[in-house]
Symmetry: D2
Subunit: 393 residues, 4 copies
């Protein structure tokens, strides 16, 4: 009932996110931060002991902690309306993305899930069809391009501040896989470097963030790539570093670079976009600000939380929690998705049409495009770096 | 029962934080982020309509939304153990700090409250005595010095990395009160610039953060000040800017500067500390990092979330949520207090002795010292900037 | 003859700057950079061997290298017009500033000399009178406030960009005197820490730069100070650190802080100025840029070498050598003085009136004000930090 | 005679650098700064009036200002030993590099010239042979990779601080050619965008700096490129932007990106190098520092002028003029070449073997490699971005 939905928190079940899963913790903190969502059930780990441990740490009723996500979806779907979860959050490794998302949607849950959305394009397209058929809401946590100042950058580009776009440079250096730590029982590293569990390595783990960021800021899709990817660390069997020449719609030129073996780097996602009137730069390591660059007038530093950002970008204002110069961080990127996803889910449950502002989160189509990007990158790379079209669905 | 307390979220009632209260929102997000605390009751606003509106937005049971904080404390204290709040959060203007804190403690609640703790030293000392008498836990949200890298800085100083300390420089420029916005119905500005409601202006609002930061990092108390404070903006009747010469224990020299009229500044809290072996710098606008400065070896940039920080500072590690180079922000400073406060409250409820790590949050003694600092600053300022001792309690 | 002076380099004799004198080298490079000045004679060192060594390294005709600056001034003054130096550069320790400057002026040379101009106010006032009597040109190398972007800052303030000024904060942390290196035969340290040779320590060595920078940028004189200075390093007999509360003309408030014992710091001169319309920040460690700060519009980063800086500040344009974003450095600060000094000297020799742009360098009146500042600082400090007027001459 | 050469400045004739030539001014300031070189003759411009004007501004004897560089080389070569120039500096557009360099060498002058060394590889190889035949010294002003901290980076890489190298990323964004300013009588733009006068556009003007920087820092030659270059601005007939995938010796991977149409950018040359023990970053816009990046220890900021840099890199120390934290700038990059070139020329004239430290400047072989890089880039680009070997001579 619509009256009900406005008077209570959304109820969430989580798949994945057992003890030691960093990303599960981030999702939970993001979901909780704005008070819209309560965690009520979980299949956190396939290890029963760890699963129960996490349930207890999260204060979830033990009767709603399940060792199998299928069981959970089955049994939670059967609960009465005042207990039944509204949404399912999927934070498992990539090979356990598609099946639970499909089942959850088919059981009538709305789904928020980590990226890359699936293991391959076929799964992605099928999931798109499931979303269309079920009318469920699906969000993918491309949680960098949902930063407030990325939204502001996008809106400034839309408003013509940069003029006609000419060039895009995206970089994403990390260093954490500089050694073969997957042989040392490093949980995060071991599934991420296993082609069967991850699909792609650096391309799928962070390349897809870089690609999505470029599409978000510019409003232009990546249409072709020439990829130079490799497994740099000896003994590794999946790509851990790449540079790709790229073209975006309208023939805009540029490059996308990502790496997990760039020794010492943390999480250096950054984008520069140049038009014929101005340029812009946004860096994850200075995320609350956007630099607008001019030739014959001073560069400008736009600050999240300011009056002028709110005016230029209502989308940025909608996800702004702290005053200007009071930093937001990594978790807020996820929270921005959870917040808009929650608002959209509330609208759908209430039978209202979600607003454009509420719908501003990465959805199943972004997920499909991410998989098409990964697919083209792997093909180009296998083909000696030949220019390869990114399939457009 | 101790079994019970480990299996459930702590229940929180909030005083203040009505619609439009920025700081109330920050407290709520901080309290929720880590999943330890649920908001179950509130006296958010003395305006009944706004109070109900906030209750609804926070999904608080309407029967537990009270127009008077006294009513709330009375009635919530009478609830059965499985409903009764454990903690009370006080986020009102300064003149409504002391009375509700005292009453809440006396009713058996634990209290977390905004700074400055009270309107004056007498209230602060009385509150200290109430804490002692009731055995309640009291936290004051000096939420800058609880940043992970401030804790790391403190621990490095303790371990002798800087050698014998010689000089401390703290600065805190803001610009938001550059005009007489309190005459324009600006809610935040209007109580903060009213001596009766705020006690002190810039000194009480942010000077006390600067002072507390210096004491936290160095482990040395401010013992004397020579303050040059003024109401710079014409028409204002409370200090909006100051510079103070200062002495810390052991005769360490330096200065504390804060301003609310530094046009264009956001929230520029920063500290530099110099010893006879090294110097350090921490800036709120780069809060995830700590710079260690040497003469004849490279400066070092210490990153929150790293192995070496965890090793040097278990306190920093305890409040670290995101990987290194994945930024935390302003809210996490508050969340760090709520988290350790919650752990301490759980221990007290369970009859356990809280650990040193859990007790690492600003307590009633920090609050008393803050009021003594404000008092000395106001006296020195009224006395032409004469050197004035900060009373030590 | 005026025809002659436009067709040749100015000829310079140098006093001081023997082997190992860092500042002598800087002066020579600055003097040479723009091709206006040739070094033709020198009394580089009172040690005859070192003096000859430096002469040879500088390719000065051995017959014009003198062991005594008095001899040099006597004999060079007697040379015919086509050989006689036009200018004398004085780069000796402070106690050998006044006498050679006076004699040089009286012999008809123009003088450029290091700061602080003299040992005390009396010498400074006498030198001012000698300048007036002789009509000589005298420049003092306060070489920070002559940076192009400081000139731009000054011109923006003059043009009202900041509105009515309210607050000034100047800081100048250095770390090189953190230990008692003057006991280790450290030449720079040993005269600078000897009250008889230096007059004042940190106040005279760098405090005077900070004061001069504030006066240059704001156009307001320092009128009173309350100084907290000390010899922090055990065994030292001269001030090595201070913080001063300060007042500028019109009652503008703020502070000046300088230190030579701030472990790890290099040369951190920086100024922030706040008005009722905007704020500005200039830092020596980012000297090619000026940040203009606003509350409700983006901060601006003004770049030396740009069209908009040239338009706002012809003085900045006059001393700009490199394109925007092609860094200038420390030497250019000195070169800016030598360049304008040289242009002024050419005008005077040619009997022309120097232009306002050419006269834009620190002159004998800046030197006098520097000495008055030092004097007031020492008096205030000796008097327990009492507010002390800076004498205005 | 060797006695003579140590007792006097080197005499320099200049080709190019008329009024309005920015780079000519930079060369002259760099040559003068260290006092080793005097400008005694010039063929500054083919416009006789402008040529004389520059001669007068530079105080060059009018009888030694020539309208034709051939005349100048002829007649200056015939002067007696005590007047004859030692060196010729060539600062003309690219198509006037080869012929004067060849003739100058053949007349017995030593040559210092701007980059790219010639118009094409054939000219470069011939010039190499002329150098070998004549025994002349030739320096090419790749003036970025001669920065002190680039030398330090190179030496740290050589000493194994980064371990085995894995990845190199070089970027060089500029924005000044964002519009078709070459049609507006913009002198710098007009020859640089004319294929006949420049050879290549962005590749030749700045790409060659990026390539040279990578080879200097890593000690590895670029061996293959896959180039995506274009004339982005409508109406332009020469490349103004490129990204290239690249391989260095040993199969080290990475990319080189340069642009002259990146709106708002100034001169953003930067390099990141990653090994299996550490990473490094050097940026032209922070040229006095080198960042060393680690995973599990703090990043280090190495400062030019420090004791530890001098110890790790005597080459850096040799070209250090200012104390640490006292910035050097763009001109010093050129001065570093002039200084070492002058020392080498002095040694050659004196019949001494130049030291390794003195020979540390870009020479004719660097010039040849630069031309081979340009050649491979143009071929790859014309060939749809196919991987193309860089010829190794």
């Amino acid at each position: 009932m619509s009256a009900d939905i406005n008077d209570r928190q959304l109820r969430m079940a989580m798949i994945g996110g057992g003890p030691g899963s960093g990303i599960g913790d981030i999702h939970r903190k993001a979901a909780r931060m704005d008070g819209q969502i309560a965690l009520v059930a979980g299949a956190f780990s396939t290890n029963p002991e760890k699963n129960r441990e996490q349930g207890k740490m999260q204060f979830v009723d033990p009767s709603r902690v399940y060792d199998s996500w299928k069981d959970m979806l089955d049994r939670e779907a059967a609960l009465p309306p005042d207990k039944r979860p509204d949404i399912v959050s999927i934070v498992t490794p990539n090979h356990v993305h598609f099946a639970p998302a499909k089942m959850a949607l088919e059981k009538g849950f709305h789904v928020i899930m980590d990226k890359p959305m699936t293991l391959n394009v076929d799964e992605a397209l099928e999931l798109r069809d499931v979303v269309r058929k079920t009318g469920g809401v699906l969000a993918v946590t491309h949680a960098f391009a949902t930063n407030a100042m990325v939204k502001c950058a996008r809106d400034l580009v839309r408003q013509g501040k940069l003029g006609k776009l000419r060039k895009i440079v995206v970089e994403y250096p990390q260093g954490w896989l500089h050694a073969l730590i997957e042989k040392d029982n490093h949980k995060q590293a071991s599934w991420r470097t296993d082609p069967k569990l991850a699909g792609a390595g650096c391309i799928g783990d962070i390349g897809v963030h870089a690609s999505h960021l470029s599409e978000t800021v510019t409003g232009l899709r990546v249409i072709a790539v020439a990829a130079d990817a490799a497994a740099v660390v000896e003994g590794r069997t999946i790509d851990d570093d790449f540079t790709a020449l790229a073209r975006w719609e309208g023939g805009v030129r540029g490059s996308i670079e990502a790496s997990q073996i760039s020794f010492g780097e943390g999480n250096g996602l950054a984008i520069r976009v140049y038009g014929d009137k101005a340029g812009l730069e946004w860096r994850f390591d200075n995320m609350d600000f956007l630099i607008i660059k001019y030739q014959d007038q001073p560069w400008e530093k736009w600050a999240r939380g300011s009056t002028y950002v709110a005016e230029a970008s209502p989308s940025a204002a909608q996800v702004t929690r702290c005053d200007k110069y009071h930093a937001e961080g990594y978790i807020e990127g996820f929270a921005n998705i959870y917040l808009n996803f929650a608002k959209t889910v509330r609208a759908v449950i209430a039978g209202r049409k979600p607003s454009e502002l509420d719908l501003d989160f990465p959805n199943v189509l972004d997920g499909v495009r991410g998989m098409a990007f990964i697919d083209a990158m792997l093909k180009s790379s296998a083909n000696g770096g030949a220019w390869t079209d990114v399939a457009q669905y």
